[in-house]
């Protein structure tokens, strides 16, 4: 058993700096804008005051307001613009201010980005990254609280990535931007202030498709993303105090889905809890569990999910929002139940 920081498999070493998740995003954007003139950042208010969530601080000053470009409010339109740029030699990063607005760009994200290369018989590459900023706990109400992470995992042609720690924010976002395929990259607003070690540099660019074991353990595997990853790590520390040794896997990519890494972990632990900030239906948790069921995996105890309730939406009411979004305690409880 080891602590969160020591257990990071790659990237985080002695030369790591403590950055917030927000700063890590900023660093990834800066390093990619710096390293490739084809990279640009566009979206609503991305160039002003560091962007609405301050992730873009300093970027428009440094790279100019052409390469860091404010757009009109028209998500479907500007994702389409990014596509046109991508197939003519640029590498756009598009910011979608709230993941809830992804469906506003629904056609571009579902029908254009993933299908473009295929429909033209492989004539082009589509290096577009869509940064999607989402998640509950902000008291933003029902139309501004989705993570959206599983919505697009049923689309071959697309890649879907997430980040649950500052280091993965840095390394996964850089990998997304470097991908020659379209990637939707999910950030969680609730994590922006979270601090952690980030090793900044070209040798810390995540491998596309790889999950990361952020905490090793032998009793149970917790698979999580985004804010739930953060809470899973907290749950694991709490459990450790009670002698429960949880392995925490960050599922950084939902497409391609790293069933392999999860399998390695559950082969060791025999138990699985998925922690997801979404209903269980049609999500990555169900996809993983179904996969193992179809393989005939033999569990020590049946797999479990901590998810959003299937019969509710996210309310504004602060107290109820906190009840609805899974806490570290609920994750720990589910782990305990798995160990009974």
């Amino acid at each position: 058993m080891s602590t969160q920081l020591e257990s990071k498999p790659a990237g985080v070493g002695s030369d790591a700096a403590e950055l917030t998740y927000r700063e890590a995003i900023n660093a990834a954007l800066e390093d990619e804008l710096e390293s490739d003139p084809a990279v640009i950042l566009m979206g609503e208010d991305v160039a002003t005051a560091g962007g609405v969530f301050k992730t873009n601080e300093g970027l428009s000053d440094r790279f100019g307001r052409e390469r860091v470009r404010n757009t009109p409010i028209c998500e479907n339109g500007f994702v389409g613009v990014a596509l046109g740029m991508a197939v003519t030699g640029m590498r756009p990063v598009v910011e979608i201010m709230f993941s809830d607005f992804l469906p506003t760009a629904g056609d571009a994200i579902v029908n254009e980005l993933p299908k473009y290369r295929f429909m033209c018989g492989g004539q082009c590459e589509v290096p577009v990254t869509v940064r999607s900023i989402g998640g509950a706990t902000g008291r933003f109400g029902t139309q501004h609280s989705a993570t959206g992470e599983s919505w697009y995992m049923a689309l071959p042609g697309l890649k879907v990535a997430t980040a649950g720690t500052p280091d993965s924010a840095y390394s996964v976002l850089r990998a997304a931007i470097r991908s020659n395929d379209p990637v939707v990259f999910f950030e969680h607003r609730g994590l922006y202030g979270r601090k952690g070690p980030v090793r900044r540099g070209d040798d810390n660019i995540a491998a596309v498709g790889d999950a990361a074991v952020l905490r090793e353990g032998s009793d149970v595997t917790i698979v999580a993303t985004l804010l739930m990853l953060d809470r899973a790590l907290i749950a694991a520390e709490q459990l450790a105090e009670n002698g429960v040794d949880a392995e925490v896997v960050e599922l950084r990519w939902l497409r391609p889905l790293d069933t392999e890494s999860v399998r390695r972990s559950v082969e060791k632990t025999g138990r699985l809890v998925v922690a997801e900030e979404q209903v269980h239906a049609a999500g990555w948790g169900a996809t993983l569990i179904s996969q193992f069921a179809m393989e005939g995996f033999e569990w020590k105890s049946r797999p479990r999910a901590v998810s959003l309730p299937d019969n509710l939406l996210i309310p504004y009411t602060p107290e109820l929002e906190d009840t609805v979004v899974p806490s570290a305690e609920r994750i720990a409880d589910e782990v305990r139940a798995a160990l009974k």
């Binding site: 208010d45 404010n70 409010i73 998500e75 902000g138 009411t317 609805v324």
Partner: protein
């Protein structure tokens, strides 16, 4: 201007407008205070400076007419007669709120007042207003729909789609764009190739009208005329009200992107002061109205706060109809 409008614009009614604009101003000012106290959480989009638009326009429709607003909608909801308790309650997430506290600041909706939707997604309200107007027409009523949106919102697809459908079907709907010169942090000319959004009406062969959004009489007049046209079956109108928001876009925005002196210049044409002057209100009269409304605002906030929180069991009933 039609007779209807003339009748409505009596001095009594305009004193009512003055009071209502003041109520909106002080309501919004207090929201900031309640935030500091942690009684309101999340975000909120205040409308100080816009009062003449909401009050002037909403006063031009009847109870049977429909209204859609946006996340920047406290003023319109109050103008429509929502009680401050219901509005504060909603912002506080309590059952005193118009939506029992689950909607929050961006979703002040009240079907009992035909305020049928408050939208947090840009552009989403316009087609809904068209639907309400079309429904009114098909059901053989003479109700019209009034829909508010922003300058930034005039660049999203649904704006175009809604105006096109409204025009081709001659739907009784009036679209009011509150052009406050900014969409979040972006000044209009950074995102939009023209200053006068009423121009966009031409793409739908629809009348487009520009009005001084700081002048409640003017707003009322043009909206009343458009409502009369709609009610007479002559179709939709696009009205652009030029206005300005005194605060930043939302709670976390200090609005540093504004040109120096811009805010101050706009404050010289404060809509409440303009109407007060026209009504010939003395300083004393203004002061005593101010005190009276402030007391009502404070009392409403206290009352709203007394209400219990909604329970999980209650809100489960809001997901599906029984």
């Amino acid at each position: 201007m039609t007779t209807v409008v003339e009748t409505k614009s009596g001095a009594d009614q305009r004193t009512g407008w003055y009071r209502r604009m003041l109520e909106i101003r002080l309501f919004e000012d207090k929201v900031q205070e309640l935030f500091m106290q942690g009684k309101i959480q999340g975000t909120t989009h205040l409308c100080q400076g816009h009062e003449a638009v909401s009050v002037g326009a909403v006063s031009a429709i009847e109870a049977r007419d429909y209204l859609t607003i946006t996340y920047r909608g406290h003023g319109h909801a109050l103008a429509r007669g929502m009680s401050m308790v219901a509005a504060y309650g909603e912002l506080m997430g309590r059952t005193s709120g118009c939506c029992n506290g689950v909607g929050g600041s961006m979703h002040l909706t009240d079907f009992s007042k035909n305020l049928i939707g408050a939208f947090a997604i840009i552009g989403a309200g316009l087609p809904v207003a068209v639907g309400a107007g079309l429904s009114a027409k098909m059901r053989g009523t003479d109700s019209v729909a009034l829909s508010f949106s922003g300058d930034g919102g005039s660049n999203i697809g649904t704006f175009h789609e809604a105006l096109n459908m409204a025009a081709v079907w001659k739907v009784p709907v009036v679209f009011v764009i509150e052009n406050n010169l900014y969409g979040e942090y972006s000044p209009i000319r950074e995102t939009t190739p023209l200053d006068d959004l009423a121009e966009r009406a031409k793409g739908y062969a629809m009348p487009g009208v520009i009005v001084d959004g700081q002048d409640v009489d003017a707003v009322h007049a043009v909206v009343a005329e458009a409502v009369a046209r709609a009610r007479a079956g002559e179709g939709p109108t696009l009205i652009e009200a030029k206005t300005y928001r005194y605060r930043g876009h939302s709670r976390t925005d200090p609005a540093k992107y504004r040109a120096e002196g811009e805010l101050e210049r706009w404050k010289l044409r404060d809509p409440i002061v303009i109407l007060g002057d026209r009504l010939g209100l003395s300083d004393d009269e203004r002061k005593s109205l101010q005190d009276e409304v402030q007391a009502a605002v404070d009392a409403a906030a206290v009352e709203a706060e007394q209400a219990p929180l909604p329970t999980l069991e209650e809100i489960e009933n809001y997901v599906y109809a029984a």
